[in-house]
Amino acid sequence: MKALKIDENSLTPIYVQIADSIEEDILNDKLMEGNACYSQLMIAKELKVNPATAAKGINLLVGHEILEKQRGQAMTIAADAKSKIIERKKKTDFKDKIEELVKLAKRLHVSEEYLQNQISKTFEESER
């Protein structure tokens, strides 16, 4: 499991943080689609959280159809988990960040054009 450090002071509940880190591991191919996910007890042991909290994290992903319950064995990663995560994150995390950025731009009286140029520039730099 990724070196996930649970942030005790975050407003994000611990079980949501657990779900987020599993999604992160799916996105960067540490967990592959069709393979088994970390078990509830493994998460509890490694992150030192109560198994009930770990189960809530897993169930959240089952609800989002990222994980699938298999009879008698660990949860498996859904075949289209990655694209589902990306689609959802576009609507949530990504949208939030853009809103934040636009708000900041307005506070600093930055024009839309300047903002777009800066984004293009950062894109180019990251691809170099």
């Binding site: 975050s10 509940p13 611990i14 079980y15 030192k48 109560n50 909290t53």
Partner: protein, 300 residues
């Protein structure tokens, strides 16, 4: 989920003082429960009633569907442990472990001896020569190794250094995962314990004021910081459990869930959100009137 401990109008009095006051509660099986409360709130009395040390003054309590006070056979299934458990002074740790082996059918002597090694305790040490911290560690080891179906720890970490406390929490969680059973831990330091707990039982002035899944408690309140006017405006339609207004910064703790609908409201009033930890939530819930105002101490 099945109930392990059930109480009906459970009351206990020491002379005129009422320690537990008509408590009605059903505790779920196989949970790791934190029993939280202020000094003298009734925690120890509650645990001792569960273990059958006391007989209720009024009302009733059942553990595994039996009255713990009357059922001698179930003694091996219930362990009450506190850091001051008395052992005959001559006994070595080894001899005390033997006593536990005889009394508790599920006692795991191999596990107990491994734990002694982890905490650098030798079986030949004499109990009377142990420091308070070591006594606490030893009593914890004994009680955990009984693997009793109901394990009650009363302030297990008394006098322990921070390294031992961290080890204790880790061992407690891991052993609970390996051998699920009902464990109740009373403690004044909830912040250290909260990650490993599944439920919390908050007791105040002899009454249970909260029994909930800890993940729920984590989302039951939040704090906002801002100017006095902003905080007051934001709070106007909300339940405030604590507030503090100062010139430089004002804040309020609000009972309710922090969610996406609250965020734009916060932006409107320009207040900042932060988390209220379960420990602080319990502090706010058990504050007595006027207690938070310390300024009066220095008034002339």
């Amino acid at each position: 989920m099945r109930g392990v401990i059930e109480t009906k109008q459970l009351t206990y009095r020491y002379g005129r003082k009422t320690a537990l006051d008509h408590v009605n509660i059903t505790l779920n099986e196989n949970q790791l429960i934190g029993l939280i409360g202020r000094n003298g709130s009734g925690k120890t009395t509650f645990l001792k009633l569960c273990a059958g040390y006391y007989y209720p003054t009024d009302g009733e309590i059942t553990v595994f569907e039996e009255e713990p006070f009357h059922r001698i056979e179930s003694l091996g299934e219930i362990i009450y442990s506190n850091p001051n458990v008395y052992h005959k002074e001559l006994n070595t740790l080894e001899q005390i472990l033997k006593y536990f082996k005889l009394t508790y059918p599920r006692f795991d002597a191999v596990f107990a001896n491994k734990l002694l090694v982890v905490f650098a305790l030798q079986p030949t040490m004499r109990f009377k020569n142990l420091s308070q911290g070591m006594v606490s560690v030893f009593n914890f080891i004994c009680a955990l190794s009984t693997r009793a179906r109901l394990t009650l720890f009363d302030e297990p970490i008394l006098g322990m250094d921070v390294t031992s406390r961290k080890k204790i929490y880790e061992i407690l969680l891991r052993d609970y995962i390996e051998c699920p059973r009902t464990i109740i831990v009373s403690s004044h330091i909830l912040s250290e314990l909260e990650d490993i707990l599944s439920e919390i039982l908050l007791i105040d002035e002899g009454k249970i004021i909260l029994y909930k899944d800890l993940d729920e408690v984590r989302t039951m309140s939040y704090r906002i910081d801002g100017t006095e006017d902003a905080v007051k405006a934001f709070c106007s339609d909300k339940t405030v459990i604590y507030s503090n207004y100062n010139t430089m910064n004002s804040y309020a703790v609000i009972e309710g869930e922090y969610n996406d609908t609250i965020i734009p409201e916060g932006e409107k009033y320009n207040v900042a959100f932060s988390k209220v930890r379960p420990e602080d939530y319990c502090v706010y819930k058990t504050l007595r009137g006027g207690e938070a105002d310390l300024e009066c101490l220095w008034e002339r």
